[in-house]
């Protein structure tokens, strides 16, 4: 708020010299942060910079090793979330803290249920929840099952919960990760309204565009330390990136690549599936990818992207349609057969599908080689000397930072884990690779490295299907962009001739009828 300098109101919150260590890992070191009434203060930094840890300290989930927390000028000790809640702090977590099987009302009141003698007073609960729900424009039947709501509504429900508890300080941890551009806009309007009503908001993000759209001040964290706290209007994106990464040469523009070739490598026609557990069913999908081409698949998550990725690699079976790789029909083949024919896959959930999270780096790297053993060869030694040496080579070739090939995968950072996946998949010299959310949770340095590897792959004629929720990523890498909405391809654009706004429109299905393929 620009009024800071005139009236000089005292901050509602001051964090001073916060240090938090987890064993040998220093998550926060001497971090300072303050918040004024009616202010939206953004906290930015890369994954692992210590944003979430800092906020968990503020919310009483962790206790700092050193430093003080002052609320309204008074030093407080927050030992558990309840303490923070009682001091008027509310947190909207990145992963929703909503019990899916509970009703809307039960979720709003969880932990502060009105009623006497351990009984739940439904009438009073409804009355108490009505005010906050109206403030957020949440017109819902309170007995609706929460799990059936869409993510944007669930997020509003999270904010309702916070208001129900009477919070004056609201922490939002990466709130836009699951929203469409339009929903994000709506959220920002809402946040500004709440701030105008006197709430103070801490907005955690690593998406610079959003930070500039909503924040009054920006604090940058890097490696657990505060780098700077500056009014947003005094900053530009490149300055923030430089502060976040500590480097001034990070490329945010389009990746230079060879032009695509003519021959079609991957051809998908009429592909339909049944409903997925967390995703829409595919509804007669058609598209082609040429050699050396990157086709971006954009869309709000849950509109069939995961279904598409899984059906392409073969961990899920289609109901109808055909998938062809360089003229060979893959539709009825098992995963291993598809991979043998030259299809590769970088799954979206790295921890579950990409690497053996409790296995070793070598076990993660060698999956491709070990797939080729047949019959009695299955009893052969899995990791002979040659394969171990190859593993060491890969670690240096892909600059994987690890203590060695036998290190457990979970000891690596997200970026290095993703390099294991990329090394394994690209070393198979695939004809076509399906990338699902390839840089999620990966730091900027590693992202650049991975983009270069993708560019290299296209240079040797690999066709790339890039499924991503990050529009910037899609616009930087793709030749063509396809947009998915409710399991259908609703639009096709040339990457260099379209814009975020246009894609955003397609993603909400606004133009679906007009351009349906």
């Amino acid at each position: 708020m620009s009024s800071n300098d005139q009236a000089a109101p005292s901050p509602v919150l001051e964090l001073q010299g916060i240090t938090k260590t987890f064993g040998p890992v220093v998550a926060n070191e001497n971090v300072n942060f303050d918040l004024y009434p009616g202010e939206i203060h953004a906290l930015v930094g890369e994954n692992g910079a210590g944003k979430t840890t800092l906020m968990r300290i503020l919310f009483g989930m962790y206790r700092p090793n050193a430093g003080s927390i002052r609320l309204g000028g008074r030093e407080v000790e927050l030992k558990k979330p309840m303490d923070a809640i009682e001091h008027g702090i509310g947190m909207v977590h990145q992963h929703f803290m909503l019990v899916p099987s509970f009703s809307v009302l039960e979720n709003i009141t969880l932990g502060a249920e009105p009623g006497a003698g351990g009984l739940f007073d439904r009438g009073r609960a409804e009355e108490a929840a009505r005010g906050p729900m109206e403030r957020l424009g949440l017109a819902l039947d309170p007995s609706t099952v929460t799990g059936s709501l869409n993510v944007a509504t669930q997020q509003k429900l999270e904010i309702t919960k916070v208001l129900y508890r009477g919070a004056k300080i609201i922490i939002l941890d990466e709130p836009t990760a699951v929203l469409t551009p339009q929903e994000t806009e709506e959220l920002f309007v809402l946040l500004k309204k709440l701030a105008a009503d006197g709430s103070s908001i801490i907005f955690i993000s690593h998406k610079l565009r959003e930070v500039f759209a909503v924040a009054d001040r920006i604090t940058v964290l890097r490696n657990g330390r505060t780098v700077s706290t500056t009014p947003a209007r005094d900053l530009d994106a490149s300055a923030v990136v430089a502060a976040m990464t500590g480097r001034s040469d990070v490329n945010l523009g389009r990746i230079t690549r060879n032009a695509p070739e003519d021959d079609v490598v991957l051809s998908v026609s009429g592909l339909s599936t049944a409903k997925f557990e967390h995703d829409a069913a595919l509804d007669s999908i058609n598209f082609e990818v040429r050699a050396g081409e990157v086709v971006g698949i954009a869309g709000v998550e849950g509109n069939g992207q995961s279904a598409l990725a899984e059906t392409l690699i073969g961990t899920a079976a289609p109901l109808a349609g055909k998938i062809e790789l360089a003229g060979t029909d893959l539709t009825r083949l098992a995963v291993s057969a598809r991979r043998d024919l030259g299809l590769s896959y970088v799954p979206e959930d790295r921890h579950r599908e990409g690497i053996p999270i409790n296995g070793s780096v070598l076990e993660g790297l060698a999956a491709g080689t070990l797939r080729r053993h047949r019959g009695w060869n299955g009893l052969a030694n899995a990791f002979p000397r040659a394969l171990q040496a190859w593993g060491t080579d890969m670690i240096s070739k892909y600059a994987i930072r690890t203590s060695g090939r036998n290190a457990k995968c979970h000891t690596l950072s997200g970026g290095n884990q993703q390099k294991i996946v990329m090394a394994r998949e690209l070393e198979e010299q695939p004809k076509c690779i399906v990338l699902a959310q390839p840089t999620r949770g990966v730091d900027l340095g590693a992202i650049e490295f991975l983009y270069d590897r993708i560019a290299e792959a296209t240079a040797r004629s690999c066709a790339v299907v890039l499924i991503s929720a990050d529009l910037d990523e899609i616009l930087r890498l793709s030749d063509r962009v396809l947009v998915m909405y409710r399991g259908r391809m609703v639009a096709e654009e040339t990457a260099t001739e379209t814009s975020r706004e246009e894609l955003g429109m397609h993603m909400t299905g606004a133009k679906a009828l007009g351009t349906a393929a």
Binding site: M82, L98, V99, P100, S101, L110, G111, E113, F120, N358
Partner: protein, 306 residues
């Protein structure tokens, strides 16, 4: 019609321990710490009931103390699986083996007997005859003439069903299992809920055990639970957290156990008759897996990584 009466009466008799054990286990299913050690906890309950009954010659003392001891053991078990981070599946399996060994060990070192402990001084649970209903065919067999713990188990069904609807506690138990982080963030105490569920589980398993050793007979035999705990576990898994469904399942298993006793050996070898409840559960499991939308149920098993 006598055989119908006899069948129903013995069906109810068999139902009671299964029902009590299943009701015991239910909250642990809510908190997603499904206790697979029901069998062991029941065996301890049966043993404790007989031992206390024998030394105090009072049925009430036997029941009361067994429940209290059960609750205390539940707290210890809860401490193990929360603060000491012992996997609940491992702990449950160990409990079963431990109970089988420890009851025999205690039986031999305390009473010097092997196999069965029976004594005239062991008090039997009072059985309640409801005047008026007693004489009515079918209805009398179902409603009257059972051990007092049978009526207690029915009361617990009602209490549990009401608690699910109206109490904050059950909401917190379920939240602790379904989304513990949400409960923590809302200021609830996940650990406390998880321990509480185990306390309840052990206390009620104690009751189920007492019903076995003092409600139907007045003796303790090595391994006298003979798989009843696992049948109750199956009931808990099949009911998906619903109290009334749980009661229904338990009655089903109880009746199928009764078949084993009522069927004459000339009709069917006794081993086949004894198999019935397990077969019913087995087939039920397959049917459930085939029909459930989310691919059936999975028991939480530990990750074996170091």
């Amino acid at each position: 019609m006598d055989w119908i009466d006899a069948f129903l009466a013995s069906g109810i008799r068999f139902t009671t321990p299964i029902l009590l054990a299943a009701l015991a286990c239910l909250p642990t299913a809510w908190t997603k710490d499904l206790n697979v050690g029901l069998e062991g906890a029941m065996l301890f309950g049966a043993f404790s009931g007989v031992v206390i009954g024998l030394s105090t010659e009072s049925g009430i003392a036997a029941v009361g103390l067994t429940v209290l001891i059960g609750a205390a053991c539940g707290a210890v078990f809860g401490y193990l699986i929360t603060y000491l981070r012992v996997n609940v599946f491992v702990a449950g399996i160990v409990l079963n083996v431990f109970a089988a060994g420890a009851t025999v060990y205690l039986l031999r070192s305390m009473f010097g007997v092997k196999g069965t402990l029976s004594d005239d001084r062991i008090p039997a649970m009072a059985s309640v005859s409801i005047p008026g209903i007693d004489g009515i065919p079918v209805l009398g067999a179902v409603l009257s003439g059972h051990s007092i713990l049978t009526y207690v188990s029915w009361a617990i069904i009602v209490v549990a069903a009401l608690a699910v609807r109206y109490t904050v506690l059950v909401r917190h138990l379920k939240a602790a299992g379904e989304h513990p982080a949400a409960l923590t963030a809302a200021g609830g105490n996940v650990t406390r809920m998880r321990i509480l569920a185990q306390v309840w589980c052990f206390a009620l398993c104690g009751l189920a055990g007492v019903q076995l050793s003092m409600g139907q007979l007045t003796l303790f035999t090595e391994g006298m639970t003979s798989g009843l705990g696992f049948v109750a576990l199956a009931a808990v898994i099949f009911c998906r957290g619903k109290v009334l469904l749980l009661a229904l399942m338990s009655v089903g298993f109880g009746l199928s156990s009764a078949v084993a006793v009522q069927v004459n050996a000339s009709v069917m070898p006794p081993q086949f008759a004894q198999m019935i409840p397990y077969l019913v559960a087995f087939i039920g499991l397959i049917v459930l897996a085939r029909t459930a939308k989310d691919g059936g149920i999975r028991i939480a098993t530990p990750v074996l990584e170091d």
